[in-house]
């Protein structure tokens, strides 16, 4: 699904460079009843956000090519329209590296689906029901 096909304000943005994990997250969240837009790096995500999209939350990986998670987060904070969007950082690096990013929550890989669902439920209107 491309960004243009979803409701610009009722979706979750998944930013993850690993294709398998990215696809799996998108499918799992859709199965839970959410709209999902996915991006393979920070630059693609930023393009989507600057096009006017306002996701209810961003699931953000840190280490990515082209534009990493830290950079994307800094760009979002610079833009008043984007700064308030809840961001869940997903990291495989140690807690020390994730400390450098301002996030709503940091979750550590390997990810636990039940935790993700709880986070999403707290920030996004439930699409499935």
């Amino acid at each position: 699904m491309t960004p243009a096909e979803v409701d610009p304000n009722e979706h979750i943005l998944v930013v993850e460079d690993d294709r398998d994990l990215r696809d799996t997250l998108a499918e799992a969240l859709r199965l839970e009843g959410y709209e999902v837009v996915s991006a393979e790096h920070g630059e693609a995500a930023l393009r989507h956000l600057r096009s006017g999209a306002r996701p209810c939350m961003v699931l953000l990986d840190l280490m990515m090519p082209v534009m990493d998670g830290w950079t994307l987060r800094r760009e979002m904070l610079k833009d008043a329209a984007l700064a308030a969007i809840p961001v869940v950082v997903m990291t495989a690096a140690g807690a020390g590296r994730a400390a450098g990013v301002e996030a709503t929550v940091v979750v550590h890989k390997p990810l636990v689906m039940d935790d993700l669902v709880a986070l999403v439920e707290a920030h996004c209107p439930h699409g499935a029901n």
């Binding site: 690993d18 994990l21 799996t24 550590h108 990810l111 636990v112």
Partner: protein
């Protein structure tokens, strides 16, 4: 006259007519001149006198008859009552005999043999005394002379004996003084030497005792600069020998520095005065003991102890070796340098120390301008691993060893005296050399010094070995920690996908929504899960491979193969992945490309390089070229992607380094490290040529065999 004499006389005159005998006897008595024969009356007065008496005693009969016979005695004998005593003795025993001094009329003394016989009548009453005196003066003189002569002879013999004894003990003392290790001299108050033993001459730098005794008084201060232990000047008049001349007994440690050669000797000197009967200094005795060797030995032990302490203080072997060099100067050498053997075999100066800080820069410049050449002493020791000593550096040696004229001029100017070079050996490998040089001090290295230097090198080598082992161990621990961090990081992402997917399906099943997904969607998820599981397994295999290679040597399984075949396999495997990312791979070949290599490992090399190119340069063209010739095969993998920033290029072949994070392929930053190890194990080399914006080219050159 005794009875026996009377009988003999009687016999002698028996042949005469009986009436003739008394007359003859009278004549005999009267005319005998060798004996004084006379008679004393009962009171000791002289009653008769013969010619002999007159001759011996000097009195005429008229003068003496009637006089007491005590006149013949010396004053002392008279005073002692000797005349009466003799009469009494003759009376009591019939006869008295003695030898003793008597007096002549003129007062002179003579040595007399005297026999006094009491003359008795038929009734036994003493009527008078017969006295016979003989002058024994001549005999006595002869005897006396003989005695004196004998005594003189005896005394002369004794004197000779005494003299021989004195000479013998003086020779012994001389021998002792000559053979002692201590230098002994005796000096007169005017400073003139009157005695010196061999040791004194040798220690003072004279060829012989005679030369020392003949030298002018100021020869010693002219030859030597005298220093106290602390290196300050020792005033000449304060030396123990000079003070001894002033009556003081003192001792001191004195450093004698040869003004000509700069050589220095340490002595323990004691000076003591010998006084004459009037209490004036007659002679000053100087004893000096050589301390140089003892000092050197002490310094050597102290140096070794300091070196050992230093060696334990740091695990950085360069720091350690620099310290050793500094410690060696000035105690062991005037210069000390350490050179390390570089991987290509040449010697690289690491540190140098010089006794004179002013010359340190000169020493450094020397080493910079003329680093040790393979044919130099240091180069030879580095190659052979055998210590070398040149006790005495000759001008000819310097000329032979310095083809550069400027270097020769400097070498001659520096006054190099002695040199030794010892290898630093770790295991069977020579990792460097220590060079010790003397110049200013004038000291010459000997076998003992070489033993010391070798011991220093042995300890330093051991420290280097320990430091290396420690560094390696630390690196291994660090590698393992990095490995675990990267490994866990790399495993977390595929594990996340697998976990999210299965949990998601479990949740859907729990909510009764699983079947609503439809068979195709479910199958798609199962295929992905299967792929992710296999990817995890592959990842674990690679991690184990890398882990093994980090700690062990890479073993190759060589076979004869064509590198083009291996490259073609890899390219065909990647064609789909490349196309998916908008890239295309091209393979170019030329020349003979068959060699004796490990197929599996070379597959890994090409897989890594091609995988990286596709990963980091999506959408760009990738060209793999394989060519051969001149005993080598060359493989290049070129992409036209964004290129690799310069700051990453330097470390890109290190373990756990990567230019940027991975995407599809699990990149642990181990790929290029592994590639380099495999290429090196084949005896080849890998290089990277890249500038940001113009792509990257990795080139591998492999020897055919």
């Amino acid at each position: 006259m005794s009875a026996t004499e009377k009988r003999e006389t009687t016999v002698a005159v028996e042949r005469l007519a009986p009436n003739e005998v008394p007359d003859l006897l009278d004549l005999l008595i009267e005319q005998v001149v060798d004996y004084a024969i006379f008679v004393l009356d009962r009171n000791g007065n002289i009653a008769s006198w013969n010619a002999g008496a007159q001759r011996i005693k000097g009195y005429t009969p008229i003068e003496i008859i009637g006089q007491p016979y005590a006149l013949f005695f010396t004053d002392e004998d008279r005073a002692a009552g000797k005349p009466a005593h003799i009469l009494a003795s003759a009376r009591a025993h019939g006869r008295y005999h003695e030898e003793g001094w008597r007096r002549r009329k003129d007062g002179t003394r003579f040595w007399a043999s005297v026999v006094m016989t009491a003359l008795r009548d038929e009734s036994g009453a003493v009527r008078g005394y017969a006295k016979i005196t003989r002058d024994l003066t001549e005999r006595r003189r002869a005897e006396e002379e003989a005695r004196v002569a004998a005594a003189e002879r005896a005394s002369r013999q004794q004197a000779e004996l005494d003299e021989r004894e004195v000479r013998r003990s003086r020779d012994q003392l001389d021998l002792i003084l000559r053979s002692v290790a201590e230098g002994v001299t005796a000096q007169r108050p005017d400073g003139r030497l009157v005695f010196a033993n061999e040791a004194a001459a040798r220690l003072s730098g004279f060829d012989s005792v005679a030369a020392m005794l003949a030298a002018p008084i100021d020869e010693m201060p002219r030859r030597f600069e005298m220093l106290r232990e602390d290196g300050t000047s020792f005033p000449f008049e304060e030396l123990p020998g000079r003070r001894a001349l002033r009556g003081e007994a003192t001792t001191a440690t004195v450093r004698f520095k040869d003004r000509r050669t700069g050589e220095e000797r340490w002595s323990f000197v004691s000076g003591a005065p010998v006084f004459d009967a009037e209490g004036r200094v007659e002679i000053a005795v100087n004893v000096f003991r050589e301390l140089t060797e003892q000092r050197r030995s002490e310094a050597a032990w102290q140096f070794l102890a300091d070196v050992s302490a230093t060696l334990g203080a740091s695990l950085d072997y360069e720091v350690t070796l620099k310290k050793v060099v500094e410690l060696a100067v000035p105690r062991i050498a005037d210069w000390c340098g350490v050179d390390v053997v570089e991987p290509d075999g040449h010697l690289e100066p690491l540190a140098v120390a010089h006794v004179d800080p002013g010359k340190l820069e000169l020493a450094r410049e020397w080493r910079r301008r003329w680093p040790p050449r393979p044919e130099s002493l240091a180069g030879r020791v580095a190659r052979s691993g055998t210590p070398e000593l040149i006790s005495e550096i000759t001008t000819a040696m310097i000329e032979a060893g310095t083809p550069d004229l400027e270097q020769r001029r400097m070498a001659l100017e520096l006054g190099l005296r002695s040199v030794m070079v010892v290898p630093l050996r770790v295991g069977n490998e020579t990792i460097g050399v220590l060079t010790f040089v003397t110049a200013e001090s004038g000291r010459r290295f000997g076998a003992q010094d070489l033993v010391l230097a070798s011991e220093v090198a042995r300890r330093a080598s051991l420290a280097v070995e320990n430091a290396r082992a420690y560094t390696e161990a630390r690196l291994a621990v660090q590698t393992r920690d990095n490995f675990l961090a990267i490994a866990s990081h790399e495993l977390r992402t595929p594990l996340s996908a697998l976990s999210v997917m299965t949990t998601s399906l479990v949740r859907a099943a729990g909510q009764g929504r699983l079947l609503s997904l439809g068979e195709d969607a479910l199958k798609d998820r199962m295929v992905k899960a299967d792929r992710q599981t296999r990817q995890l397994a592959r990842l674990i295999d690679r991690l184990l491979d890398v882990s093994r290679l980090s700690t062990r040597d890479l073993r190759l399984e060589r076979e004869t193969l064509d590198l083009v075949e291996v490259a073609r396999d890899v390219v065909s495997r990647y064609e789909d992945a490349a196309a998916e990312r908008g890239s295309r791979i091209e393979l170019k070949t030329s020349g003979e490309t068959t060699g004796y290599w490990d197929r599996g490992r070379l597959d890994q090399v090409i897989t890594n390089l091609v995988g990286n190119a596709i990963k980091y340069a999506p959408g760009a063209a990738v060209t793999v070229s394989v060519s051969g010739g001149g005993g080598h095969a060359r493989l290049t993998v070129r992409d036209e992607g964004p290129g690799i920033p310069l700051e990453h290029q330097e470390r890109i072949f290190d373990q756990f380094e990567r230019a940027s994070p991975s995407e599809d392929l699990p990149g642990m930053g181990l790929g290029l490290w592994l590639v380099r190890r495999i290429v090196a194990a084949h005896g080849g080399a890998i290089t990277l040529d890249s500038r940001p914006g113009t792509g990257a080219t990795f080139s591998v050159v492999l020897p055919m065999r």
